[in-house]
Each structure stands twice: as structure tokens, then as C-alpha cells.
């Protein structure tokens, strides 16, 4: 699900020269375990299995199920660092909840400013 697929719950941006993978969830997406699994598989294809830093833009996500949170618990170390881009109080709460409950194994931060997120991630490139 790369490029712009309007019906898709997310889309992946092509890898740039900065070595940061980017996933943007579509407006109103209910982030279920099935969506989470597909996204992780697509990201693995995009990165060719390399552990890269990831920018996950969840600003437009409607909700995040517990099963999806549990699934993400086990796959965070597929990436070298994780910048979670939130916007509304609800998405900020989702991120804080995830970080608080999951204690990710790789550097993980919440940002509300994309530039700051990318700047932080570029410092995490191995």
C-alpha cells in the first residue's frame, strides 16, 4: 500500500535519501491488529528487511485497539527508532498509552511536529 490509495487505511512513502521509513494512516482509520499486521509486512517489503528508523503518522487515526497495541509490542524492534506523530489530544493519548504500556525496546518518542520528529530520527540512523 504505497503511494496514494484513498481506500487504504495507510500509505507508505518511498524511501528517501535520509533513510527514514514513513507510514501515514488515513483519516478515520480504526487501527486493528489486521491493519497493523499488514502495515508491518508492507514496511518490511519497503525497507527490504533492514532496521530503519520509522516515522508513523497517526494524526488522523480514529482509534487503536488493544490487540493492535499488543501486536505492535512485539514488532517495535523491527525498526531502529520510532517517532510517533500525534495531533489531537486523542491521538496523543493513544501514543502515550502505547509507550507507557509497551515500554518499546527501541528509542521511541511522541512528536506533534513532523520536522522535529524527522530531525530526531535522522540522528537515529544506524
Amino acid at each position: 500500500m504505497t503511494g496514494t490509495d484513498l481506500a487504504a487505511p495507510y500509505f507508505l512513502e518511498p524511501l528517501g535519501v535520509d533513510g527514514v521509513a514513513r507510514i501515514r494512516y488515513s483519516a478515520g482509520t480504526v487501527l486493528t491488529e489486521a491493519v497493523a499486521r499488514r502495515a508491518v509486512v508492507d514496511l518490511a517489503i519497503l525497507t527490504k528487511g533492514k532496521r530503519l528508523p520509522l516515522l508513523a503518522d497517526i494524526r488522523k487515526v480514529k482509534s487503536l485497539t488493544r490487540e493492535a497495541r499488543k501486536y505492535f509490542d512485539n514488532v517495535t524492534d523491527s525498526f531502529s527508532a520510532l517517532a510517533l506523530l500525534a495531533g489531537s489530544p486523542a491521538t496523543q493519548l493513544m501514543v502515550n498509552f502505547f509507550i507507557g504500556m509497551s515500554r518499546p525496546k527501541v528509542p521511541t518518542h511522541m512528536f506533534t511536529d513532523e520536522e522535529k520528529a524527522l530531525s530526531w530520527l535522522r540522528h537515529q540512523v544506524v
Binding site: S88, P89, M101
Partner: protein, 402 residues
Amino acid sequence: MTADDNRLVPIIEIITSLARGDLQPEFPEIVDDPELEAIVLGLQMLAEELVASRAELEGRTAELESLNDGLVRLADLGNLLASCDTSGEAYVVLGRAARDMYSQLSGAVYLYGASRNVVELVTTWGDLPVAKSFPPADCWALRRGRAHHVSVSGAELACRHTREGERSSAMCVPMLAEGEALGVLHLVAAPELGDRVFTPLAQRLAVAAAEACALALASIRLREKLADQSLRDALTGLYNRRYAEETLVREIARAKRDAAALSVLMLDFDHFKGFNDEFGHDAGDMALREAATVLVESVRTSDVVSRVGGEEFLLILPGASLEATLQKSDAIRKKLKGLELFHRGRRLPPVTFSAGVAAFPANGEAPEALLRAADAALYEAKHAGRDRTVSASARPAGLAVA
């Protein structure tokens, strides 16, 4: 109530439901109020975590209760096994206890046979079609000396003694006592139970149960061996005088109760001292062992053959009449006389035995009286020239049966 207060009504309702223990209340969809939306979402996620934690806690509590129940049963089983006198009793107790402990499972207990080439079925329960016996190499638990669990997915190697194509969670636990495997406990869950039954705790309990049973069985077997040794004559393996006398008391009581016949046959090696002097004690011992083999092979399994003195044997024959015993005595003496004995490459001369026969109740109603009668008849046989049988009933007339 102000407009701001009304805004908080859904939050208050959610918190009230959570406080009542209802962890899955209705979470309203909030629009155009991002802060409230975040609070409702936060409460919803917390409630989901609480539901999951509660389910996990309930699962663990149930497992701990089951473990506790298992430990209590295990302690009971240990006490029961410790009270068993024989392996046979222990097998019955073990079968019932295993069935009780693992009632939701099918299972079987196998123990090594004397040859240790095969394990034999002792008890089984549930609807498990089990092999009556199998070679130890067919069981991974026996091969590796540790518990072997096979999950429904079948990722692990299944034992060859289990049903072909079986897609059930199963476990084999070796019954180890002091480093030696006595057998194996085999447990199988019904397919619909999946892998739920053999949790890590349940597996540990099964190992503890198998070890407790193995230790108890080893202890009983040792006790049996010691008891058997105290009843046996070390040279010939026959029963000793003590066992023969106890048996005679029991058999006379039985004969009295059932109005049945009972005879005793006393046999004595003729000129045994001379035989020993001429050919050596080794030769004498060998002759006694050979004679013992002939005696055991000549009678029924219900008869008792014992060595009651240096060269003297006593046979107790429940249900045998005097006449039948006289015939049996002569047949035995004939076989003994026909024994071909070799010692250190040298052929030994034929041996002869004298015999005295007495029957209950004609020659004595009490054990001592019956033995005295047989002994007196034996004396008569010796006195009359040896190599013969004398009946206690014929003694007054001095009649010898050649």
C-alpha cells in the same frame, strides 16, 4: 448544572460503571470536543486493559487452584502408596489416583518388565486406545530421561507408542527414582481441549506426580525383595522353613474350612554327608540345587516347595490325597535318581532320596502333628533301607512303598 457540567455527564457515567465493576460500559462517540474525546478514549483503553488483566488473573487463579488441588491429591497419593504392602496394591492405588488427578484426560501408566526390554501397561483410563506394551525406545521421555510434551500443532516429535496421526496435546513423563526409570506416565488431552491443559505448572505437577509414584514403587519393590529374601533359601531359591511352617498353618486352616485334602511330603537326600565328603561341598551344593529344580518342576504352582534342613525338603500339596502324594513322591524320586550330575568334568553317581508322606487330617490335624507324622515316615524309609517312600498311614505295619 452548567453547560460545562453537562459536558462531563458521559465521563461520570463511564466512571460510575467502572466503579461498579462493569468494565465494558458503553463508550459514547464524542464529536467536536477533542479533549473530551481523548478522555473517553483513555478510559476505554484503560477499561480494555483491566478486562484483559482480570481475565489473565482469573486464568492464573484457576490454574493455581488446580495446582493446589493437584498437590493435595499428590500428597494423598504419597500417603496411600506408602501404606501399600505390595506392588500389586500400589498399581491399583496408582491407577485410581492417576484417573482421579487427570480425570479430564486419558492416560496410561507403563512400567518396565523384568527384562527391561519392554514397558508393560499397568493401568489406563479415559478413551485412549493404548498399546499393551512397547519397547522403551518408542518413547521420547524414556529415551531422554525427561518429560516430553507434544502440542496440538505437532511441532514436536510424537512418540511411536502413541496413536498414528493423533492431533492432541500429549505428554509422557518418565517415572524416575534415584536416577533409574521405572516406567512412564502417558497423558493425552481430548482434541477439543487443545494445548490448554498442559500449562507449564501442570507439566511440573505431572513430573512431581510421576517422581512421587516412582519413589513409592521403588520403595515397595525393595521391601518386597527384602521380604522375599527373608523367606527364601539362598542356595536353592526355594522357600525356607519359616515360610513353609507359616504356609502349612494357613493351608490346614483352609483345608479344614473347605473339608479338602492336604498332604505333606518330606524328602531327604540319602547319604548326603558321604556324598559331600567324597565329591566336595561344591558338588553337594550343586546336587541340592539340581534337586530343587526337579522338585519345583514336578509340582503345581499352588504347591509349596521348601528346603527345611541341610539336605531335607518339605513339599506342601493342598488338595492332594495321600494316594496321589505317594504316587507323586515316587515319580519325583525316580526323576531325582535319573539326574545326570557333572562336577568339574566328572560324572557323579546317581543320587537317591527317602521320603515320608502324611495326610491331613488322617495323620494329624495340627501342623506340628502332621509334620511329625511325615518326619516319622521319613525315618521309617531311612530305616528300611532308604530310596523309598513311606506313608504315615502305613507306619504301624511298617509298610514301605518302594
